[in-house]
Every structure is written in structure tokens, then in C-alpha cells.
């Protein structure tokens, strides 16, 4: 169990045109074990989606993995040809996406789409696949599986569609599930349902989950470990309760403080001034130096390395807040 299921080492993913290359994901490393959930948090443009697409080898045309390894059960996925990847993708590693309504095909019934996945990956008759699909629909908590089986995606609500997506993702008993903003398009009460479902299936099938989100609340709810991404680089990497209670990177602290909280009433929210830098125009030195309240000349000139400030707590900062995270 201690052997990681997926381990990504120094993954770099670039966008390129004829003249230039821009790194969207820069030297990212992470690993997930079976039954564990890893949260990847970042704002839009931080490269979190591109990181997951690189692992799945689903990158858009202009993008390419330019370095690093993606080790899945001891095999490096990066050099594998498309045919080999297809055997793994959807079977060993599945994915659910942000907008469940858009990621299902509108012109096929829900049942057809689940059966299709089963027929591609498993040796099974259509009848057996239909039977399995109905079981899956039931397993993800859909009230009338037989009726929903014949429905088209537009006949279902967002929460139901996401359940169907999860059913498809689970159809071949994957070992690893990538969930890219699985609840962003959903209402809070439905979000709670879906997170609960993800937790259940993770525990039942001992799956590893990589959860990609911008919502720190969602991460605190389900993840064991969190990586905070900013402008393509990991800024902090630690167990969830450390990130939530004792963050050491000024960016993580800023994120935590800038979200309004239910328990406390503050008059003004803390805010991180400015915007995420443009991928074509990254600051020299630390990526966060343009918005960091602690930045000095060294931060602007020299890029910090990832340092382990406590066992299991990594930070990329020249001035990490140690002790109680007060800085």
C-alpha cells in the first residue's frame, strides 16, 4: 500500500507556437496512493487542468509534455503510444469533468454511453453490459435506474448528470480517478451529495482520487493532501490540515484569508492585490513576487526551491512562515 499508485515527477508542460514556448505547468511533482485523495488547488490559469490533462495525455494540439515522468504502477505513461494509452485511459485511470451537462453526449442516451465504455474496455456481451450499467446507476445513487438508463442527458439535472459521469468513470473499476472541478457547476446541497458519493466510492473500491478545484472548502472536505498551484508551479504541498490551519506560503495564507467564512464576521476581506501574471510574461524570481506582501529584492531575483520545512510539509518560498503559520 505504501507504493504510490501514480507518481508524477518534474512534469513540465508547454504551449508552443512557431516562435516561442510558454510553460503552463512547470516542474510539478506529486504522488497518489490507493484510497487516498490528493487535492490540487489553484486559481484559473494556474495550470491545474493542464496538469491533469498531461497525465491523461489529452492535451490540446498546441500543448506538449516537454519533460518529466508520469509513473503509473511502475510504467512511465509519457512515452507510451496512443494505442497503449487508450487501454489505460477510461479503464485504469478515469476522469470526470467540470460541467457534467457538456461532457455527456447529447444525442445518445445515458445508458448507451455507459454501455459503450464497458464494451470498449471489457470483454462482455451487450446484455451483461446493460446489466452492469444498471447496477452502476444504482451504485451512484440514482433513484430509478431503469428509467434514467433510457434518458438523454438534457432530461436530467446537473447533479444527476454528474452522477452519470461518475458511473461512467467507475464502469471499469479504475484504480485512479481524476476529478476536475467535479462540483463547481452544482449547487451546494448537490455538491455535498456528490462529495459524499466520491468519498463512498473511494473507500469501497480503494481508488486514488486526484481532485482539482479552486475551492479550498471542497478540498478541506475530502482531500488527504493538498498541493497549491500558482502560475504553473507548486507553491505549497502538505497534508490538508496543515494547509488549512498552518499554511506557510504567503499565497496560501492569502487564499485562506480572502474567502469569506461563516463563523467570523470581518468588516473587510483580506485581498491579494493584482492579478495572476500572464503565462507569456512571468516575473523573474518567485512567481508570486508581484503580489506578495513580503516580497523583497531576493524574491524578485531568485526563484525559491521547494523546501521541506517540516516532515511532509513542502514550501516554495524564501520567507516561509514557520511556527503557528502567523508569519
Amino acid at each position: 500500500m505504501s507504493e504510490p499508485l501514480l507518481s508524477v515527477e518534474n512534469l513540465t508542460m508547454v504551449f508552443e507556437n512557431r516562435h516561442q514556448t510558454f510553460p503552463a505547468v512547470d516542474n510539478l511533482s506529486f504522488s497518489v496512493k490507493s484510497g487516498q485523495t490528493l487535492g490540487i488547488v489553484g486559481e484559473s490559469g494556474s495550470g491545474k487542468t493542464m496538469a491533469s490533462l498531461s497525465v491523461m495525455k489529452l492535451l490540446p494540439n498546441q500543448g506538449r509534455v516537454s519533460g518529466g515522468k508520469v509513473m503509473f504502477e511502475g510504467r512511465d505513461l509519457v512515452p507510451l503510444p496512443e494505442k497503449e494509452i487508450q487501454k489505460i485511459r477510461g479503464k485504469e485511470i478515469s476522469m470526470i469533468f467540470q460541467d457534467p451537462m457538456m461532457s455527456l453526449d447529447h444525442v445518445y442516451t445515458v445508458g448507451y454511453q455507459i454501455v459503450e465504455t464497458l464494451l470498449i474496455h471489457e470483454k462482455m456481451s451487450r446484455e451483461a453490459a446493460t446489466e452492469k450499467a444498471l447496477q452502476l446507476l444504482e451504485a451512484v445513487g440514482i433513484p430509478h435506474p431503469k428509467r434514467v438508463f433510457r434518458c438523454y442527458p438534457f432530461e436530467l439535472s446537473g447533479g444527476m448528470c454528474q452522477r452519470v459521469m461518475i458511473a461512467i468513470a467507475l464502469s471499469c473499476n479504475p484504480k485512479l480517478l481524476f476529478a476536475d472541478e467535479p462540483t463547481t457547476a452544482l449547487d451546494v446541497t448537490v455538491q455535498a451529495q456528490i462529495l459524499d458519493l466520491l468519498r463512498q466510492v473511494r473507500d469501497r473500491y480503494q481508488m486514488g482520487i486526484v481532485l482539482i478545484t479552486h475551492d479550498l472548502g471542497v478540498v478541506s472536505d475530502i482531500a488527504d493532501r493538498v498541493i497549491v498551484l500558482y502560475a504553473g508551479k507548486s507553491m505549497e504541498d502538505a497534508p490538508t490540515d496543515i494547509i488549512m490551519n498552518r499554511p506557510a506560503h504567503p499565497y496560501t495564507m492569502g487564499l485562506m484569508k480572502s474567502a469569506p467564512r461563516l463563523e467570523q464576521q470581518v468588516d473587510r476581506l483580506y485581498c491579494i492585490e493584482g492579478m495572476v501574471p500572464d503565462i507569456r510574461d512571468m516575473p523573474k524570481g518567485c512567481r508570486f513576487c508581484t503580489r506578495c506582501p513580503l516580497a523583497d529584492d531576493r524574491c524578485r531575483a531568485e526563484e525559491p526551491d521547494m523546501v521541506e520545512i517540516q516532515p511532509g510539509h513542502f514550501v516554495r518560498c524564501h520567507k516561509p512562515a514557520v511556527e503557528e503559520g502567523k508569519g
Binding site: E43, S44, P143, S157, G158, G159, M160, D187, V188, T189, V190, Q191, A192, Q193, L195, D196, H214, D215, L216, G217, V218, V219, S220, D221, M244, N245, G254, L255, M256, S258, A259, P260, R261, L262, E263, Q265, V266, D267, R268, L269, Y270, C271, I272, E273, M275, V276
Partner: protein, 324 residues
């Protein structure tokens, strides 16, 4: 300042493109009443499809309500002659959800912000220029951006343009319909702070609509919780959080994942919001409520005063007691 009484809005559902038969009606807003004091922020929370946007549009008469009255400063806006309504609307403005769609992509920032001035009053060019620049300073946009187009801005900046446009002509009431839901957390904080600063500066009244309860709580003095077209609970912000009375409010509060908070026992609602075409008889929430009784399934509870400034529509509190 704003007094909304028994506003109802329904939309007919037709059987199909070629059939003239009516299939039913969507009860988008059903008998909603509330009051907003001057200078306060009135928050409106609810899940998608509960009618919060329709309600906000009926307030401005962008969608005329079927019945009910809306008083702004003592004047009823419903059935007001168009000319007068237009003058009234100078006082009531709106900031929309998607800063990407609510700005005309073919107009410059100058044209967008000054459009209300062109419509409502006669200004000279110079006055307009000065006013636009003043507004841009107010919302934290550099004056040098005045002749740029919306696509050149980020989401947060676009929302600032939207706010500048709403501030033009010095309104009294601004309706913010999900102003931050499309933005990242760090940008969201900037916009929320800006809205709070502007409120203090100009003594503005906000109606703040969002599905995000933490954001609404941060902004609002009073919060109304909406479910399937009706208000189920209205209470002062802190009150609502500390003692949520309606089972739906309780579920909504417990569903919010809060970073850093201790893991709590969730109330997880089963099922989805019922269709507004055939809302359940009786209490709208009865199909998903853990405490529902036969009475809930037959009768509609009304919003009742609880004695401490809150109002709840639930039979559990019928005798004013603290059940549940």
C-alpha cells in the same frame, strides 16, 4: 425604502412549437414579500432555479410581475407609466452575474459607462468625460483604459466596469445579481471590498443575490433564503447563521464546506429541487425535508414573525416554540 408585497410571477409552459395548449405554469416567484431599509444590504440566497434572478428582475420591472406591489420610496412601480418608470430606474441599478456577457463587446469602456447618462439626461461631452473618469477612479480602473474594449480586460476588471456603469447617475439602490460567482477567490475579495467601500461612501442600498451563503453572510445585514419561488426564512445575517430555523436553511448551511472548520455532521439532502411546473402541494420543501408531516404535505406554511426579527415559513415553529 423598498417594500415588496406579495409579488408573484409565473411563466406559461406551452405544449410544443405547434400546439397552442398550455401545459402548465412555472411558478418562478410565488407570493414574495420583504422590506429593505435604506443603507442596508439585503441578501438573497437560494439554489439555481429557485427564482432569485426572476425576483430581482421583477423589482426593476424588467419582467413585470403578475400580481403584487413594489414600493420604492413610497411609489408603486407596478403599473407605473413608462416615462415615470424610466426616471425611477435611474435610482435602481443592476450589476450582473457574468461580466463577460453583460458588457457590449463592440463598445468602449467610455461608451459603456456613459450610456446611462446618454439615456437619462443631457450632458455635455466634457461633463460626460469627467464623470466617466471619476467613476473609473472610484472603482479602481486606470483612466488610461477609457478607450479600450471589454475583451481587453480580465474578469475582475470587467466586473469593475459593470459596477462603474451601475454607479453612474448616483443611484440609491443597486441590485447585485451574483456579482462574484464567476471570479476567483482572490479577485472576489477585491470586488466584495470595493462594493462595501462604495456602500459606505455613497450610502447605497444593496440587494445582494448569490448562491454562496458565506459571501451573502459577509455582505448582508438581512438575509432571505429562497426555495422554489418562495421565501422560507428571513433573518438578520448573524442570527440566520447562529440559529437557522428552517430545515432547508439548516441543510444549506451544513452543506457548505468551510476550509479550516472542524468536520461536522452533514445534513445531506436527498434528491433535487422539484420542478417548478409541478411544485409539491403544501410546503414546497416537504419532499426533501426530514421533519415533514402530513400537514406539511397538505398546507402551505406562511412566513411568521419569530419575535427576534426573524421570519420563518415552517409548521415546526407554529407555536413559536423552538422545535427541531
Amino acid at each position: 425604502m423598498l417594500d415588496v408585497r406579495n409579488v408573484t410571477k409565473t411563466f406559461p409552459v406551452k405544449g410544443g412549437m405547434f400546439s397552442s395548449s398550455k401545459k402548465g405554469v412555472v411558478h418562478a416567484v410565488d407570493n414574495v414579500s420583504f422590506q429593505v431599509e435604506k443603507g442596508e444590504t439585503f441578501g438573497l440566497v437560494g439554489e439555481s432555479g429557485c427564482g432569485k434572478s426572476t425576483l430581482s428582475r421583477t423589482l426593476l420591472q424588467l419582467i413585470p410581475p403578475d400580481s403584487g406591489e413594489i414600493y420604492m420610496d413610497g411609489k408603486n412601480l407596478v403599473d407605473m407609466p413608462k416615462k415615470e418608470l424610466r426616471r425611477q430606474r435611474e435610482q435602481m441599478r443592476m450589476v450582473f452575474q457574468k461580466p463577460f456577457y453583460s458588457l457590449n463587446p463592440r463598445r468602449t469602456v467610455r461608451e459603456i459607462i456613459s450610456a446611462p447618462m446618454m439615456i437619462h439626461r443631457h450632458y455635455t461631452k466634457r461633463e460626460m468625460q469627467a464623470e466617466v473618469e471619476r467613476l473609473m477612479d472610484l472603482v479602481g480602473l486606470s483612466r488610461s483604459y477609457i478607450d479600450r474594449y471589454p475583451h481587453e480586460f480580465s474578469g475582475g476588471q470587467r466586473q469593475r466596469i459593470g459596477i462603474a456603469r451601475a454607479l453612474c447617475l448616483k443611484p440609491k439602490l443597486i441590485i447585485c445579481d451574483e456579482p462574484v460567482s464567476a471570479l476567483d477567490v482572490s479577485i472576489q475579495a477585491q470586488i466584495l471590498n470595493l462594493l462595501k467601500d462604495l456602500q459606505k461612501k455613497f450610502d447605497l442600498t444593496y440587494i445582494f443575490i448569490s448562491h454562496n451563503l458565506s459571501v451573502v453572510k459577509h455582505m448582508s445585514d438581512h438575509i432571505a433564503v429562497m426555495y422554489l419561488g418562495s421565501l422560507v426564512e428571513v433573518a438578520p445575517g448573524a442570527e440566520l447563521y447562529q440559529k437557522a430555523r428552517h430545515p432547508y436553511t439548516q441543510a444549506l448551511l451544513s452543506a457548505i464546506p468551510d476550509p479550516g472548520a472542524k468536520k461536522k455532521d452533514r445534513i445531506i439532502l436527498t434528491g433535487d429541487i422539484p420542478s417548478p411546473v409541478n411544485p409539491p402541494k403544501g410546503c414546497r420543501f416537504c419532499t426533501r425535508c426530514a421533519y415533514a408531516t402530513d400537514r406539511c404535505r397538505q398546507e402551505r406554511p406562511e412566513l411568521k414573525e419569530m419575535g427576534d426579527g426573524s421570519k420563518v415559513a415552517c409548521f415546526l415553529y407554529d407555536k413559536g416554540g423552538e422545535n427541531a
